[in-house]
Amino acid sequence: MNGMVSRVEPPSGVRRNGPAPFWRVVRSELGWVLRRPRNLLALFGLAMLPVLIGTVLTLTDSAGSGPSLFAAMAGNGLVLPVFSLMMTQNLLLPLVTAMVAADALAGESAHGTLRGLLLAPVGRVRLVTVKAIGVASMIVLAVGVITLSGVLTGLTVVGGDGLVTLSGTTLPLGPALGRVALAAGWCAVQMAAVGAVALAVSAATEHPLLVMAVTVGGLIVFGVLEAFPNLEWLKPVMLTTDWYSISDVLSDPIRSQDLLTGLWRACCYILIGFSAATARMATKDT
């Protein structure tokens, strides 16, 4: 075998000093997240969901019954993206978020690639930041495709001119799209909270499956606890408490109180989750 030539020369003959540039590492991370077939499949699936809901709605003419938001959707296309976000926010979006967060640290650890990153070296705190950016990007994309697909399906399949709010007023297309964007942003922050906690779990284990189980299991437990009236006192600390108030963006004027409470709560979760992930990584054996 004519084989290996082991003499190593730096291509331009110059060695760089200092750590690898932050944005180069981030770009590589994003490329990695977006090249993963299962992530692309998840995005595709999420994009299809509003199409499915819109189609069922039109074909079966089932609007007018069921949950109030569902009822409000008849002939009112721009409710569809908000309705889709509310539906996916409970399980599907957290699942996708947990999956990406699981890959981010636990998955890398399982493949032995986390070691490579730390030996390069990418600083441990920096690595958590890069990973958080990767997870956040996937969340933004996931929420984005649902919203976009919801708006397009809503306008073309369900139809409607502008948006009839839950308060009965009608908003023109521009402000109506603003309301949809607001719902999307709010939902993304909630998912970022889920992602931060998932990333902390991800830093603590090398089993990606465990991250998904803990994250989704936690949300299900929250759902169960919410059903008990005598556990009312727990509500302020449970992430899911205000999740249904996402439909408040469709009131006129916007009922902002629960939305804001939910936003602050999510920010607390983000802070705690990110700190825990960083603290765990800083001392982790890899």
């Binding site: 084989g3 331009s12 760089r16 090249r35 030996l119």
Partner: protein, 325 residues
């Protein structure tokens, strides 16, 4: 021999240019790692001179990998200190590690990415590379390990040997001062093993320090200038390979017609003899070869062949690791 052979200065004759280069590539002091009640590594004082090729030897579970992980800052020692290329580890990994290439606990890559994409990911986080150099560095590294043709194939389709080569390519993406290879020939066929040896020899020729862990003695004997022997987490010998080999005396290997008869004759003459593959091995540290032959001839044993042999690493290793009984 219970104590370590100390030859810390063995590699220092290679004309150091500055004060920084006279210090060893690696020095650990009283390195210790415990997991609960299990002591993985205990009191390891290891010194590797610059430019040396050190073979870390020891049976599975003797603490080789744990030691290496502590050297690279992957695991924090319970106590003791590590100085890697003059930098304290783990406090200053950011300064030392860019100069270190490593392949630890097998190659780690993503199965869904091609070999090239995997290496590009390594190049992106490599501090020593400018952004404009990353692609060239990746292509050169692929070429170097003979993976250019398979670069577009997904990592999951690689054979064990190809995976190992990709790991080596990642370790040698930029010029290094120190290369750490943990069981580099695992899963390689004889040709692959030879190639790894050549890479190590070339690195050595370039003045790169190499630390290599292995449980294969022949691998160490053929490629290393220095050796360190670990047993149950303790460093039981270290030093230049030549010094280690000389520390056991030469021996005489005798082929006789009747082994049983020869064995009895030599034992009656009070000569330290053992049987080896149908031959007789006599330790010559305290005896002369003619005495051995004479004893055999006097007893009427036919001698077919007698040859002098330097003790192999295998003998030393066997004695060190079973020794204290």
């Amino acid at each position: 021999m219970g104590e370590a052979v100390d030859t810390a200065r063995a590699g220092a004759h290679e004309a150091p240019a500055s004060a920084r280069e006279t210090e060893p590539a690696l020095r650990t002091r009283s390195l210790r790692k415990t997991y609960g009640r299990t002591v993985a590594v205990s009191d390891v004082n290891l010194t590797v001179p610059r430019g040396a090729v050190l073979g870390m030897l020891g049976p599975n579970g003797s603490g080789k990998t744990t030691t290496i992980r502590m050297l690279l800052g992957l695991t924090e020692p319970t106590s003791g200190s590590v100085e890697l290329l003059g930098h304290r580890i783990p406090e200053h990994t950011g300064r030392a590690l860019p100069l270190v290439g490593s392949l630890v606990e097998g190659p780690g890559f993503h199965p869904f990415l091609s070999g090239r994409r995997n290496l590009r990911r390594c190049a992106a986080v490599e501090p020593g590379l400018f952004g404009s150099d990353t692609d060239t560095a990746v292509e050169q590294a692929l070429e170097r390990v003979g993976l250019s043709e398979a670069a577009e194939r997904r990592y999951r389709s690689y054979s064990l040997g190809m995976k190992q080569r990709l790991g080596l390519a990642a370790a040698l993406l930029v010029p290094r001062e120190l290369v750490v290879l943990d069981e580099p020939t695992n899963g390689l066929d004889p040709a692959g093993t030879r190639e790894i040896r050549r890479v190590i020899a070339d690195l050595h020729a370039d003045g790169t320090t190499v630390i290599l862990s292995s449980h294969l003695l022949s691998e160490v004997e053929n490629t290393c200038t220095h050796a360190a022997v670990l047993r149950e987490g303790t460093l039981i010998a270290q030093g230049a390979l030549d010094t280690l080999l000389e520390s056991t005396g030469p021996s005489l290997l005798v082929t006789v017609a009747d082994t049983e008869e020869g064995l009895r004759a030599l034992r009656e003459a009070d000569l330290p003899v053992s049987q080896e593959n149908g031959d007789l091995r006599v330790d010559l540290s305290d005896n002369r070869a003619p005495e051995v032959i004479a004893a055999l001839v006097r007893a009427g044993v036919e001698v077919h062949e007698a040859r002098r042999e330097r003790a192999g690493l295998e003998d030393i290793f066997a004695r060190l690791t079973e020794g204290e009984t």
